[in-house]
Symmetry: C2
Amino acid sequence: MRKIGLKEIEDIALGAALLGAGGGGDPYVGKLVAIGAVKECGEVTMLSVDEVPDDALVVPIAMMGAPTILSEKAVGGNEYKTLFEMVTRFYNREIFAFMPIEAGGVNSMLPIAAAARLNLPLIDADGMGRAFPELQMVTFTIGGVRATPMALVDEKGNSVIFDTITNKWTEELARSVTMSCGGSVSVSLYCIDGATLKKYAVRDIVTRSEKLGAAIRTVKQTTGKTPEESFFEFTEGYKLFKGKIVDVLRETRGAFNFGKVVLDGIGEFKGQSADVEFQNENLVARVNEKILATTPDLICIVDTETFTPVTTDALKYGKRVMVVGLKCFDMWRTEKGLELVGPRYFGCETDYIAIEERCKQGEEKHV
Amino acid sequence: MRKIGLKEIEDIALGAALLGAGGGGDPYVGKLVAIGAVKECGEVTMLSVDEVPDDALVVPIAMMGAPTILSEKAVGGNEYKTLFEMVTRFYNREIFAFMPIEAGGVNSMLPIAAAARLNLPLIDADGMGRAFPELQMVTFTIGGVRATPMALVDEKGNSVIFDTITNKWTEELARSVTMSCGGSVSVSLYCIDGATLKKYAVRDIVTRSEKLGAAIRTVKQTTGKTPEESFFEFTEGYKLFKGKIVDVLRETRGAFNFGKVVLDGIGEFKGQSADVEFQNENLVARVNEKILATTPDLICIVDTETFTPVTTDALKYGKRVMVVGLKCFDMWRTEKGLELVGPRYFGCETDYIAIEERCKQGEEKHV
């Protein structure tokens, strides 16, 4: 048990932007929501998964929709209270705590705001260990946990409860409503008991975000190594590419941000080219036409100077960036995991090969 | 209080097809559902509005979506039970009775099936006195009654509860889900207490449907007048046109059936032409380019021989039909009523003029 205040929020937001793997929306927007709530209602108590009683009801809080739209719409002050009341009423029992469903961007921040406003603890875990674009893409789905009953509210005050036969149907129906509500809404789903949480949650992910954020913030203060060396040391990441953005293709379709960014190499990558495809999150990184990383491993794009994560929304012509690969949570590498979030699900015609394998093959070739 | 059995269902279905004003879907499909339920579970007790205690909870049951699609999908046996449980759970109180929300076609039948299966009474009333295509188009909206909480289930077992800020938002969100569920679903909405029901319901509409149905069934058995004379006597309708269908334009868009039927006059209308536009229900009837009737008055198309109502789904080239106008429920003719269901709402560039006025003007011109 520890407290999450303004300083922690800054670091969590920064680290979660990296774990967002390009998605999850502008962390700045989410941060403002969390900071506003904590300033008004006080710090949030964060518990580890082991501190949750087996029979306690834990309720994930998130926004659903295209992050590009979220940053143009406010999150209403009463949305979490409405979600709280809907879930309490549906289950007819007390909510023990809130948690994030994904570690990326805005959705790492909103549960903090909700916890502050409703004076509930926050659990140090999520269901992805990163961000993913569709709501069935959580470890809980692997564990057979149902997304529903799912509560949805928009900033105008409309609310909906879904109870569906599969998590894919939840995605289908909730996505329709999200679009009708203007493209972004607040939701509670995968309400889960402590015992199941302990089996399937990605543990300590808020703490990991915070540590990553703190490290990025202080990356230039380390002595004895370059900021870049320091960055790769604490992220345990793979340097996939470094380049200048020469093209960004972008399309908002079905409440998703689809697109592709094209890079011309700089530094040691001079003369080479790369591209990264995304659906909210980065899906595939290709260097010189060769795939170096695919979902579910994390493909992160960071600024070459500050190492600040760059979301797909913020990709701009001329920007100098580094493409970084991070290993995903183990459960995603199982057969069931890859069915949900492997490259083929997203229409990429390649099998999943773990990033460490792909990069090793690359090195062998370079030799 | 009286019993609704198989004989009553036959007549109600036939009369409700007329009140459907072209919409409400194939009455045959609805009839099969109601007959199946009554055969399995017994006759239904029907109560008049005055027999409902002021504080009793009355729950309308309907299908939502394009009737064309409904006739290709079955209504699952458990849908009403699910709706019953959802509403009971939401209100945490007992349901006193079911009722139809519209008198037209399928939706006049499904509440009978629901009442039989759940062993609840049926109330002899609806919220339209006819059929309309959108869910906010009920007298209850005029009375400020909220459509939500609205329960929705599909035949696969997905279910949704809506709670919206306006009835137009209910339409918007529920329509999205209906489309995602394949175009037709079962719903409960405008759950209402007895006191409000007494103020805004269209009373005795099931009985009226039944009488209309019985009269159509026996139209050729009356002595001393032609079947046509007899038909206009009991319907108190206006004969707008009689002709052969020479064109039907049809389009399913946004879970609605849009279209237009064009007629060449026969009998006393020989040499004249007419057309009727529809959105699920018939909206405007024009004879020789002159509007003779518009929504919310009922524009019904019936077979010239049998006087059987012809729904917009069943309009076919070559069919000989009569276009009949019926006065709508008084409340629709108020300013608030016309805002909801007047011709301008449906994009028809004309003010509402009561059918008896339009037809009188026509007669004067003929003189």
